[in-house]
Symmetry: C2
């Protein structure tokens, strides 16, 4: 089970991809494939959660890594960057790393 916890011992990647709606499913399939084949086997990978926007125009990956260093190492992995180059050929995306500072429930 994937959980979101304040002040947890991990970093969160939030990456929002903008895509033509007719290619939204292709992007989702490629992100799942890249995660299953490569990312999930790299040191420090905790989870990836692929989100489809209701308007068809975006896909978001909410991913958790053990540390900033593990995430940076992934960026330099040739298999991982191969996946991202293919995805970059038909999407725009803006990744950033975060800490969870507050979690509020009803």
């Amino acid at each position: 089970m994937v959980t979101i916890t304040k002040n947890s011992n991990m970093v969160t990647l939030i990456n929002v991809f903008t895509v033509e709606p007719e290619k939204q499913q292709k992007l989702i399939d490629l992100l799942i494939q890249a995660t299953e084949k490569t990312m999930r086997h790299l040191p420090g990978f905790i989870s990836a959660n692929i989100h489809r926007s209701l308007d068809g125009k975006q896909v978001a990956n909410y991913a958790q890594w053990r540390s900033h260093q593990d995430f940076e190492a992934m960026l330099h992995n040739p298999d991982a960057s191969g996946h991202m180059q293919e995805i970059a050929s038909f999407t725009k995306f803006a990744p950033n790393l975060y800490d969870v500072v507050e979690s509020i429930q009803a």
Copy 2:
């Protein structure tokens, strides 16, 4: 505990705010205040999770609502829109609604 689950019976709001680093903490404080005072008491609110980017330039809200309709009703709530107007005066943001289509763990 906040959990991320594939095909769950809820919608996810991902809202990434861009802010001057010296105002990142002010933005975080306002988002927490808005959630505690207003959003968490509205019908259909499930959770809000406030994230601080490590580079200081962004804040992300990963929030869960019972339905698209509950989220839309929040947008028309005068207290909620008052909070968002204050936040809009010094940030840019791009909210969108999503479904979780895949969740992959190590």
